[in-house]
């Protein structure tokens, strides 16, 4: 019972917060675009790629992509590690 009340209160708090955010945020479809206009205008000259998203992923924010590839690597390593064969498998 207490648990349910706690869940309810947390949810109401978060819900109010997020709905307030959703209502007060700027209208859908009219973003400010100082940074992105630079990319749209210059990506073709600077990177040669037609796809501006690819230009961002691999050039302007390539470091993030490196991190992301690392995460996938870490996850694959971790999953294989978790299901590795153990020496004490037989006695387990």
């Amino acid at each position: 019972m207490l648990r349910k009340v706690a869940i309810g209160l947390t949810l109401i708090a978060f819900g109010v917060m997020f709905f307030a955010a959703a209502v007060t945020i700027r209208p859908f479809g009219e973003p400010p675009s100082a940074m992105d206009d630079y990319i749209i205008e210059h990506s073709q000259q600077e990177t040669g790629a037609n796809n501006a998203v690819s230009a961002v992923v691999f050039d302007y924010r390539g470091y993030d992509t490196l991190g992301e590839a690392t995460i996938l690597f870490a996850a694959a390593t971790a999953v294989v590690m978790l299901f590795r064969k153990r020496k004490d498998e037989a006695s387990d």
Binding site: M17, F18, A20, A21, T24, I25, R26, P31, P32, S33, A34, M35, D36, Y38, I39, H42, D59, Y60, R61, G62, Y63, D64, L66, G67, E68, T70, I71, F73, A74, A75, T77, A78, V80, M81, L82, R84, K85, R86, K87, D88, D92
Partner: protein
Amino acid sequence: MDALTAHSSILAIAIPLFAAFLTPLVGKLGARTRNVFVVVVLAFVEFLVLVLARDIYANGIHLYTLGAVSPSLAIPEHYMVPVRIVLEVDGLGVFMGIISATVALAGAIYSISCMKHETGQDRFYTLLLLLTVGMLGIQFTGDLFNLFVFLEILSISGAALAAFRTRFIDAVEGGFKYLIVSTVAALMVLLATGLFYGQYNLLNIAAIADVMQYTALDKIALALLIVALLTKSGGVPSHWWVPDTYTPAPAGTSPMIYAATLACMSTMFRVAFTLYGVKMSVATIGWLIIIAGLLSMFVGVTMALRQTDVKRLMAYHVISQGGYMLLGVGVGIAVLGDPQALAAYGREAVAGGLFHVMNHAFFKGLLLLTGEALFFRLGTRNLNRMGGMGRNMKWTCAFFLIGALAISGVPPLNGFASKLMIYEASYQLNPMLTIIAMMVSIMTLASFTKVFQSAFTGPELPEYKEVREVPLSMKLGMGILAGATLFISLFPSLVVNTIVYPAADALLNQAGYIGAVMGGG
């Protein structure tokens, strides 16, 4: 050397990353080669961080723009906002960098003997290197989304390492809890990033801080960031994952996970001081953090008194000591809007908190390692089933003694120095804070006396007659951290003046941080 200095910040992250990708291949050459490789890489990272530190203390904030025509060109020519990812390393960043690199080196050396009998060591060392990458990455970055990415690297490698000993159920559960908590926290960070991006179309921390208007959305973002990072640093409302994760973490990784936690805490300080600064309602936020700190201290230490599992006990002390850091820095935040009080005691409070972070990374890391050493030799972590180990494991006993005295704030060790700074500063804000903090300190001493008595003194138990001292590499790993602790204890003023005050000043100097990227300042 100049080129090395110029690129040192990215190299400190990219080289362990490169090594992590290489480790599975090197592992094919044999275990010995791989161990040497990992240790050499981490030593080189330590060297790079020191090179970076020299540069920063000489020339101020280090800026590195990835992929730009020139690394120092954060903003493209003829433009007004930064577009690319910027690494921005200031006093705080390099301070945490030194801590992380040292702890990682000690943990890796310690693990060599400790992990000898486990399978899957290639993957263990890969994840260990990735954890180092994550810690350094979140400290050095100047970009919010990049912060999220490296937080996730930290979470995944940390959780996987915590769950490494899959034969124990509590290891897997601890890893799972850590992963859930970190993922949700990281997603909150991402949500806050989205809120900033939606308003200002910026991702760079300095650039956002420059144009921040503290609207309602910014307040929500602040709440999300503080909640997320407080959760990740084990503050009290969401501290429950800490003991479950730390207790089963194998070998040298528990100090590293601890260092990662501290890195998250310092990121929280960065958000509060640099991203928002005086624009937020500092008194409210400051007092909230102070209260979280006090609760952490109290809850942590009272829970610790009841524990019989040696590593679990230490994990509760992690929570409790985290409270001191929150208290110190919280006092700094609370007076951020008041220049007079800030000069009088705010700066000292922040420095005390950060100094405590550093001390704690070393001596709590040391304590966690001694706990693991006991487990390594005895096969149990239960204090009631230990006894008399002081005779057989003299080195471990000595290291434990250093750590325990330091954590309890016994003079002349470094724990005392940092706690004194926090006491002095918090006393001027409100004497009650100091009293609670001192009380907690005494309880900490009591708790560690108990551990010392049951594990190291007393009658020698017959079943542990054959127990020998731990192997050399484990001693070496503990020795590094003990040496660091003793060094700080011997020269506290040197350390404080050279690296702690620059870190505190870097936190307090928001304009400098912004100016380094946006120019002018």
